[in-house]
Amino acid sequence: MKRVSFFAFTVLFLLVVAMAFPAGQKEKAAGLPKEVTFAVWSGNAGEIDRFRVENAVEAAKVVQSALKAKGIEIAITVKPVSDPAGWADYKRKFSLAAEDGQAPYIVVSGHEDVAPWAQAGYIVPLADSVKAVQGLHPEFADVIDSLWNCTMWHGKVWAVPQDTEARPMFFSKTKLKALGWSDAQVAALPDKIKNGEFTLEDMIATCKQAVEKAVVQPGYGYWHRPLKGGDFVQYYFSYGGRIYDPATDKLVIVQKALEQWYSFQRRCVTSGITPEKYIGTAWNVWHDSVANDKVLFWNAGTWMWNDWAKNYAKGGEEQLWKNIGYALQPSGIKGKPGGTLSHPLVYMVTSEKASGDKVKDLIAKMTTKELNTRHALESTHLAILKSQQNYQPYAQSKFLSSVTYMLNNNYYQPNHAQYGPWFDAVFNGMVAAEQGEKSPADAVKEVVTKLKLDLGDALIVE
């Protein structure tokens, strides 16, 4: 009896003692003057996106030598982490790490994370105004002015833009010609879309024709994204919708635009140009089909161009140039200009303790035209600096220089902490309407009910 109880007590005691120690050591604040270590994270990253964090390694050397010139001896080490996890998983990792005090000093994520992460205290503000941040470093003053809008929340600047992109409507030039379009007509399409002469209705009609004439297989007329993503709100905007009211800092839902958008998605299915159960198709199947000229119209992102050229198109980039054209997203209303969504990624800083100015120095040195262009070219993202557009390597890129005009007709998603729930409700409604589970009108009613439940006072219903 005594032996048993002694043994049991020992085991219990050891267990309790073991549980008292926290798992792993927390990162110590970089208060020591001799060395500073920065972790830099980015997510949803393939091989071609690695420069988002690897640029920090180069920048660290520059900052280190600049400090040495001032007589400050300091060793700056950067730990770059390019995480292939999807957005949801990556953001979960970051949130939990931030709660545990293990967040990286610099984190790259979508600009929409500024609002919830700032509210939660996971990130720190960089300056009190755009003017103030532009005054900190010449590199920040070089950033295209309108991009700073994506870094603002409640009047302060919380991030530095890292890259931007556009989300064009791509089309197959070869298939349009097979339909009977002349070279001139094909070349004129981007301008017609820009001016609102070629609308979403015209696109449906063209795709229907292509299916009827067997230029494309049924269901291969128009392909949107196969999975959740910001692109879908472009069609809400195309019908005159808006998401955010800056005057009241509230989210908005425009019922008429929502219903017209849902109808458009449903009509794509009923016209036979988009498969009904399309959401959920795997990305690699999707990329393979669009890059190899199987689809007539598809909406995608500029960053996919290099991915297609390197990993999917059988004939490489040459094949893409031969077959593919691109334009803004057509509007749903005749005469309304086409537009496109941009989703800039931004650098955010998680700790004031992270040696304050040195972090901003590091980010500034990552925001040079040389380093940013290296990333832009490798992953086909667009210029964020005013000096970049005339910078030779960037200007020489045929694709990048030809899509940069789209930034004049772009819009962004809002920096609002509740944008996530807004988007989820609206997206799920779209899927229900597209797949015929509900009529567009019923889907809209349900979405508005859900939005009112989830957002309460933070919503304006128009």
Binding site: S5, A8, V285, G420, K450
Partner: protein
């Protein structure tokens, strides 16, 4: 009693008393490890989940900036138009997968115990493969089987040769695939339990029934199945509760698309998976809390109405 006992041969009585005391506390020490695990990994988390469900905790509030909501999350769930849809999807999923699990488990164990032992072992080992395959690998195989041309095995080997229209089968028959995917894993649980129950039936009874003129099917119906009553009920109970809370295969297979979003997956999506990074911890906790209540309720129903108390008393295998 004690006094009279201790007045007998002294060493014998103190040993007897010691043995009694030893016997009476042994149960405590045996139960302690699992009780500890149950408290730390079930009761405490349930308590914490219930507390979180009464708050507005999200990414935006962080784990420290939340406020009390009271029953706010629960009222939102009741008012949500999707609640009934997810409840119905969960019910369908649990009922059909349970049927598949129990019936297939029974069928496999009956067949494999009626063949030479080595072949029986081989087939049971094959049926265990889905369970021991890592979920991601397992689902990847299913996706490749169901994919559209030129990737899909089903389409290449069966659908196209038959001249039928090829397509990606998972979106077309999502619910069927969900049941099959989970059922192929779940059937092995019943298979193991039923097989061991069948093999514990005394061999002389099995043989003598055949000698007495019963056919194999009659033996199954009148001798084997009655012996399986308790294992059947155990497997049904266990798997009902396990299916109620499982979602990982559905997550990887369809991520809840095509009407396959079950309650547990909804809770996961709300609390731990948001494309725009704003995780709704409080809401997810409320959904999970409701699931716990349903699970506990069902466990009580099963325990009472199927007289589970009797199961844990004496082994029933000896009685006919």
């Amino acid at each position: 009693m004690h006094a009279s006992n201790s007045q007998k041969a002294a060493p014998g009585s103190s040993v007897e008393a010691l043995a009694r005391r030893k016997g009476s506390l042994a149960w405590f020490w045996f139960l302690l490890p699992s009780a500890f695990l149950a408290i730390v990994f079930f009761f405490l988390p349930v308590l914490i989940t219930l507390v979180i469900s009464l708050t507005n905790m999200t990414t935006a509030t962080g784990l420290s900036g939340w406020t009390w909501l009271g029953t706010g999350n629960y009222r939102k769930i009741l008012a949500n138009p999707d609640t009934v849809k997810y409840l119905w999807a969960t019910t369908r999923y649990v009922v059909f997968t349970l049927l598949f699990n129990v019936v297939m488990g029974l069928v496999i164990s009956l067949i494999t115990t009626h063949m030479p032992q080595r072949s029986g072992l081989l087939f049971r080992a094959i049926w265990l493969l889905p369970r021991i395959t890592p979920p991601v690998v397992y689902i990847l195989m299913w996706k490749i089987i169901a994919a559209n041309l030129p990737y899909g095995i089903l389409n290449q080997l069966i659908v196209k040769p038959l001249g039928l229209a090829t397509m990606n089968w998972i979106p077309e028959a999502a619910f069927l695939f969900v049941v099959l995917v989970n059922g192929l894993v779940g059937a092995s649980f019943g298979m193991i339990i039923f097989t061991s129950a069948i093999e514990s039936i005394p061999k002389d009874i099995m043989i003598s029934s055949l000698v007495d003129g019963a056919s194999v099917l009659q033996r199954i119906r009148y001798i084997i199945l009655p012996q399986l009553r308790w294992p059947l009920l155990f497997v049904t109970t266990y798997q009902t509760l396990s299916l109620l809370t499982s979602y990982e295969y559905i997550l990887i297979l369809t991520d809840g698309n095509f009407n396959t979003e079950v309650w547990a997956l909804w809770a996961f999506h709300q609390a731990l998976s948001n494309y725009w990074g704003n995780f709704q911890y409080g809401m997810g906790a409320a959904l999970a809390a409701i699931l716990v209540v349903i699970g506990v309720g069902m466990a009580v129903v099963y325990l009472r109405y199927f007289r589970f108390g009797e199961l844990v008393q004496e082994p029933k295998i000896d009685q006919l």
